[in-house]
Amino acid sequence: MTLALAVDIGLAMLILAMAGWTIAVRDTFASVIGFVTYGLLLTLVWVRLAMPDVALTEAAMGGGLTGALLIGGAARLRRTEAAVRTERPGMLTRTLAAVLSATVTAALAICVLNLPDPAPTLAPDAAAKLGSTGVGNPVTAVLLAYRSMDTLLEAIVVLLALFGVWSLAHDRFWGGCPQLRTHADSEGILAYFARILPPIGIIVGVYIFWIGADFPGGKFQGATILAAMWLLVIGAGLAYFPPISQAWLRILLVAGPLVFMVIGFAGIVTAGAVFAYPIGFAKPLILAIEIALMPTLVLALALLVAGAPQRMPPQ
């Protein structure tokens, strides 16, 4: 196992170096590029920690959506760069910040070194009840059966963030369309790419979503891939975001959490507890929730990257 440990040590050093550089570099754009690479390194770490579900989420979120979001922001804020740089805090602040950060790191490191042994785990409990959920992947079982309340609240948090983003629109654009910076050339290489990739990407996204019941994968990962494909088509100038006042858009956004809540509260009648599933119906109900949540998540994640509405729809 020495080779494996050597890989781990190399990976840990690389990730620290990348994080350090991302923080230290002067140019914000360069820092964002560093952060994208950092996301990729994190994916590798999750694979090394034997958590493919988390690795999939990080691969889709960290490299794809967060990268696009930050790069878009950095590009628009580029002109402010020089002005803000003069605000760099003085030596005293920096020293105090360094001392504070070092203290936090040291305290956490002590905690890590003194973690209880043997480690407490819920894995046996999760495995014991896995059969009754009809789901093969324990992480999916936690997300949608054992701790489904968390997942519902998470979907609502994503929606709340989206409403927050929308509420930042100028009054005159309220109900309008969000917009990405697009290449105007609809015959260029990017448009070609955006015509070829999404059909295959949609298959991969649905596949990742579908296998989530029994293998690593699931709706968050699948939804992120689908959202990225939609953004790619829009970014290439082949399509436009719908106005956020569209009824179908709003219905789809709310449908996921609504179906989740209805099924959750129906549990009081059918199974005697909130978010309990009647025996034998767990798998179809979980599937129903996942299918309802899927469009909600795809739309919400893509629209979060798109930002606040910036123009009214053409008449």
Binding site: I23, V54, M61, L108, A123
Partner: protein, 114 residues
Amino acid sequence: MNGPMLFGLCAAALIGFGLYSLIVNPQPLRKIIGFNIIGSGVFLLFGTIARRGAAVGMGGDPVPQALLITGIVVAFSATALAVSLLLRLFDEGGVVTLDNEAAPTETTTDPSDT
């Protein structure tokens, strides 16, 4: 020393790095990146604890793993909201700063306070 422990220590260092960046970098977008680095450090710490709970043929404790997936999605949403706030601040005054005295007009201070 083993893999999970190593990444746990790495996570502690990442949280420190992120915290320093959050305090020291004047550019708000850099603060958002710093905050994300803190976030990833916390996730990694959580992952270490999940990995240590590996049992009955699972690679790690599934409960923290599920929370991690939830956490990553929520962190992305929060980042998107923060970037939007920042862009709106930029649209208002053409300047991005969290320094109230340097703010050119009254309205620019509002989004940063919320």
